[in-house]
């Protein structure tokens, strides 16, 4: 009797431990195929729960495309290939070909999948394309299977520095080279030298435009150089110019208003972000653009100096200008609180990234309607930096840790939110669709730091998983 009583207690204690664990494990399992737009819970940010009625069933993502019939000004075909060493190339190179267009032109890119078994897509990072051209597998299109192709068509409305990369198994494909630069220039280009500085770390070696170490910068004295630094890695990058004072002319494809000369400081380029540095070549002809770890573009044999100890604070850099909308009249207010929590992510135990205290897929779906002015407070107490990237929109920084922005409007599509930091941002919801709002340390996105901004009247016919094998991160 006494023994059976003991066994009963032991069994009870076992159930008390394993029961909740099993419950949470089971609850965390993500179905094999699902509609991303229905995951998690709707967060209306204090706005109305329903959008304007558009007749039957609202807008489908696959109807939100670029101009269907007009003749493209820039036509490119990119063939994605997986090499035997695990790297990915586009038309045989990594980074892929540099695409250049003039503001206002219609760009047409045909993506052909040579042999990438898991499929590929192309996302136009920083270009606010129509949703159907955004290239997110399982949300805006199906991954392009081997032998198949997909045509992207969009008008480039803002001059600036952008890049493209796969958004199918992105953490692996981007890391292994499936990306390239997309440059949109003003109709009349004012500067002398327009130089892409595309930074990627391959197998522990930091490269600029695919080459490790130092490369030549062909610039002569008194020429103005625009160095378009693109950070294609997973962590923040420090860039700086030595030999001449430089300016941060643009951030994430948006011009900085009233940039001032910088010397002896570096500028942080967020993972996925871009910063255009401009400088006039000195009379000596010796200057260099450094991106750390020994990678640099060098003119006139300029010697490497020490890395600057300080960074430019973009919160107070440049002079204020009109935003074009009033953030005080926001119709939606969202919180995007990044933390870390013990739990199961699709059945896997661990301490995972949380959004507003929830683990993926039980994360907020930020719901907006076209025309809304949106404010979002992004805070991070997770212990690591997160380069947050919102697709399809440019937002402006209002404040950091309660300190209001005092410089040029700081427009961005990729923003480093450091541990312990809180950013208040605002944007206009002017591009209907279902847009990923995620961490561009792409492994973090795989590990659940992934939410969406969804317009109330938009639906998607695409599914994550399924026959197409869509795996957006």
């Amino acid at each position: 009797m006494r023994k059976s009583f003991k066994i009963a207690i032991a069994l009870g204690a076992t159930v008390a431990i394993l029961g909740p664990l099993g419950y949470f494990w089971q609850r965390s399992l993500v179905p094999g195929t699902y509609d991303m737009a229905t995951m998690g819970y709707a967060d209306f940010g204090g706005g109305p729960a329903a959008g304007h009625s558009h007749g039957t069933g609202g807008l489908s993502v696959d109807t939100l495309t670029g101009p269907a019939s007009a003749k493209p000004d820039v036509t490119v075909t990119l063939a994605a290939h997986q090499e035997s060493n695990g790297r990915y190339t586009l038309n045989g190179t990594s980074p892929g070909p540099e695409i250049r267009a003039v503001k206002g032109q219609l760009v047409q890119v045909t993506l052909v999948n040579d042999n990438v078994t898991e499929g590929v897509t192309l996302h136009w990072h920083g270009v606010d394309v129509p949703n159907g051209e955004d290239g997110v597998a399982g949300v805006t299109q199906d991954a392009v299977r081997p032998g198949a192709s997909f045509v992207y068509r969009f008008t480039v409305q803002d001059a600036g520095t952008y890049w493209y990369h796969s958004h199918q198994v992105g953490h692996e494909q981007v890391r292994q080279g499936l990306f390239g630069a997309l440059i949109v220039t003003e109709p009349v280009f004012a500067e002398g030298i327009d130089q892409v500085v595309q930074v990627h770390t391959f197998d522990g070696r930091r490269t600029i435009n695919g080459a490790a170490g130092e490369a030549a910068l062909a610039a002569r004295p008194s020429q103005v150089v625009r160095a378009r630094v693109i950070n294609t890695d997973a962590g923040p990058l420090r860039a700086w110019v030595s030999g001449a004072p430089y300016r941060v002319a643009a951030i994430d494809g948006r011009s900085v208003n009233g940039p001032t000369d910088i010397t002896g400081k570096s500028v942080i380029v967020t993972a996925g972000g871009r910063v255009d540095l401009t400088f006039e070549m000195p009379a000596s002809g010796a200057a260099r653009v450094d991106v750390g770890a020994g990678a640099a573009l060098v003119a006139g044999g300029a010697a490497a100096g020490t890395e600057p100890a300080d960074d430019v604070d973009l919160l107070s850099y440049g002079t204020p200008a009109a935003l074009g909308f009033d953030p005080a009249r926001a119709t939606r207010n969202f919180d995007y609180r990044i933390g870390r929590r013990a739990g199961f992510l699709d059945g896997k135990p661990g301490l995972w990234w949380s959004i507003n205290g929830h683990l993926f897929p039980d994360v907020p779906m930020f719901m907006v309607a076209t025309g809304d002015i949106v404010r979002m407070t992004i805070s991070n107490t997770s212990g690591e930096v997160h380069p947050m990237h919102l697709h399809g929109h440019h937002a402006v920084v209002l404040s950091r840790n309660g300190v209001a922005a005092t410089g040029s409007p700081w427009w961005f599509d990729s923003l480093d939110v450091g541990d312990g930091e809180t950013y208040e941002i605002a944007f206009v919801a002017d591009n209907p669709g279902i847009w990923v709002d995620h961490c561009h340390n792409l492994q973090h996105a795989v590990d659940g730091l992934l939410a969406h901004l969804a317009y109330t009247d938009v639906t998607t016919p695409f599914r994550v998983g399924g026959d197409a094998g869509n795996s957006p991160e």
Partner: protein
């Protein structure tokens, strides 16, 4: 059940040794690669760190949980107590690990607490061994 308890406790203590080995390898591997001009970034892979994360977040926690559950049935004097203490020390160990990301100096406590984990697991093991020897001697005296 006593043998299972003892083996689980021993495996936990061994797990701590494996963790120390993995992290030592990781550090020397990173240092060695800098000889070759490589940099360690957010994109970098490291086998030692990967092993440390799998053993620390999956294998040892499963072992500790199993020890706790087995302790309910093993009937070892003090067995549940030492399994529960081991569980508590492990939770502290994981908390210290993640607290060390923003505050690296806390890694020192993570290292010290690793010895504590090995120690309490060893005491649990000893408890099982003592209980086993008491039982073995019981028929003789009875």
């Amino acid at each position: 059940m006593r043998a299972v308890y003892r083996i689980l406790a021993m495996s936990i203590a061994t797990g701590v040794v494996v963790q120390a080995c993995a992290i030592a390898y990781a550090l020397f591997d990173i240092l060695h690669k800098t000889d070759d001009g490589q940099v360690f970034t957010k994109d970098s892979d490291n086998a030692g760190i990967a092993v440390h994360m799998v053993v620390g977040e999956m294998i040892v926690p499963v072992l500790v949980l199993a020890l706790l559950i087995v302790s309910f049935f093993a009937g070892i004097p003090g067995g549940v107590k030492w399994a529960a203490i081991t569980f508590g020390v492990l939770v502290l160990q994981i908390v210290l690990a993640y607290a060390s990301y923003p505050v690296p100096v806390l890694g020192v406590l993570h290292a010290i607490n690793a010895f504590a984990l090995a120690a309490v697991a060893s005491l649990a093991m000893r408890q099982a061994r003592l209980a086993g020897s008491t039982q073995a001697s019981t028929p003789v005296t009875a």
